[in-house]
């Protein structure tokens, strides 16, 4: 695995094929947890963490178990199982070892179980035939892409709430959806970006 390959995967996951803005995965937490920058940051970090772990474990399950046994058609089910167990485990671990982080993440940690961006990253890893290192890089950077997107969007929403002279019928959720669309359009600008 060359350095160029890693950089290419990273830039692709963060900017060009951003999970939220160009693949439209993980929209639920993106809209639900983006009211404040602080919580958005917490959610983004938690998702990054789980995505990285899920990439590693799902890669292991896939290469060591599903592929040798010709069970690749069970990937989705197996991955869901892995992710759910993983999130549970991470929650227990954090509660015991890092209570501060556990408090900060709060309800968002269990919510990640049903975050389709996490399932998306592991399925894409398989689809693209990534090796172990590439899977890990794709998981981490995919999470960072999510983090960037949700923090950007939360900052926009904070300003919208505070300063925008928004028509009454658009207040709240409608204007949030519109600004999410505009942000996605802006991220389309990266689609022409070619790495090496």
């Amino acid at each position: 695995m060359s350095l160029t390959g890693i950089v290419s995967i990273a830039l692709g996951a963060i900017l060009i094929e951003n999970f939220i803005f160009s693949q439209f995965l993980g929209i639920c937490p993106f809209l639900g947890v983006s009211r404040k920058v602080d919580t958005a940051l917490g959610m983004g970090l938690a998702v990054t963490f789980v995505m990285a772990l899920a990439s590693v474990f799902c890669w292991l399950v896939n290469t060591l178990l599903l592929v040798p046994l010709n069970l690749t058609y069970m990937q989705t089910v197996a991955y869901i199982l892995v992710i759910a167990a993983l999130v549970q485990f991470v929650e227990m671990f954090l509660k015991k070892s890092i209570p501060g982080l556990y408090q900060a993440l709060g309800i968002y940690l269990p919510l990640i179980t049903t975050n389709c961006a996490v399932l998306g990253v592991v399925l894409l890893n398989t689809q693209k035939n990534y090796d172990f290192l590439s899977s890990l890089v794709y998981g981490v950077t995919g999470g960072i892409g999510f983090l960037v997107a949700i923090v950007l969007f939360a900052s926009v929403r904070e300003r919208l709430d505070l300063t925008a002279d928004c028509p009454r019928s658009f207040e709240g959720f409608p204007i949030a959806l519109i600004s999410a669309g505009l942000l996605a359009l802006a991220f389309m600008g990266f689609s022409g970006l070619k790495v090496f």
Binding site: V61, L65, L66, L69, N70, L71, M74, V77, A78, L81, V82, A85, Q88, F89, M92, F93, K95, K96, S97, P99, L162, T163
Partner: protein, 272 residues
Amino acid sequence: MTNVWLAVAVLGGLGAFFGLLLAISSKVFYVKTDERIEKVASCLNGANCGGCGYAGCSAYAAAIVEDGAPIDRCTPAGQEGVKGIAAIMGVEAVEMQRMVAFVRCSGGDKAQVKYAYNGLQDCTVAAQAIGGGQRSCAYGCLGFGSCVAACRFGALSIVDGVAKVDPEKCQGCKACVETCPKHLIDLIPYGFEGAVPCANTDKGGITRKVCESGCLGCHLCEKFCPHNAIHVVDNLSVKDYSKCQNCGICAEKCPRKLIYMPHMDVSKRTTA
């Protein structure tokens, strides 16, 4: 057919493996939580207003159970809450004084305006503008209602350009106290009348020029008070809630009619 059974076996095995792993780790990473915390939390109001000084209702409940924090900090839950917590914790229920917010300004539209302010309609922003906002009185309420927005109980409103508290709705959570950039809002005992609604510490002559309502520091209330309950400090009259007997003499003597005491008890005036 074998394929199906293989899939069942593999996924079942995987599930059982993860289940076992989680079962073991739940023992390994077991964190003992005191069941009283949840009970105490159910006695609290649940508004997560932060008025107790803790991060939220559950944080305060944990502090009561684990660190022996005082049990009378939840103003929204009131005396009922204190009784409930006392029963759970096995301590004596303390009498709690209900505190409500009070805005130390009555100026509003009665105060002069020194320039037309066209910025963001928010007190915190306006207070950072030139001269601390558009009003000539540098101490007074700006009237953009940041406290109104901060209040979760709908107890505040802007009346004639100045914030007013509805003591019936106020839960004493201090959200407005922390929001007000002019630090105008205090907590006073519920039912207490005649707090001085002004915060201007300039000399009387200056105050008179900028506001029709401000306290001039004329000492009349101080002179006539039979209970030594009101004093002029820094050109501003300040009342001592513990000494005031609600006799209302200060309200009558105030040349600015600043002190409002609708339920004054005239009979208390004799005990000088």
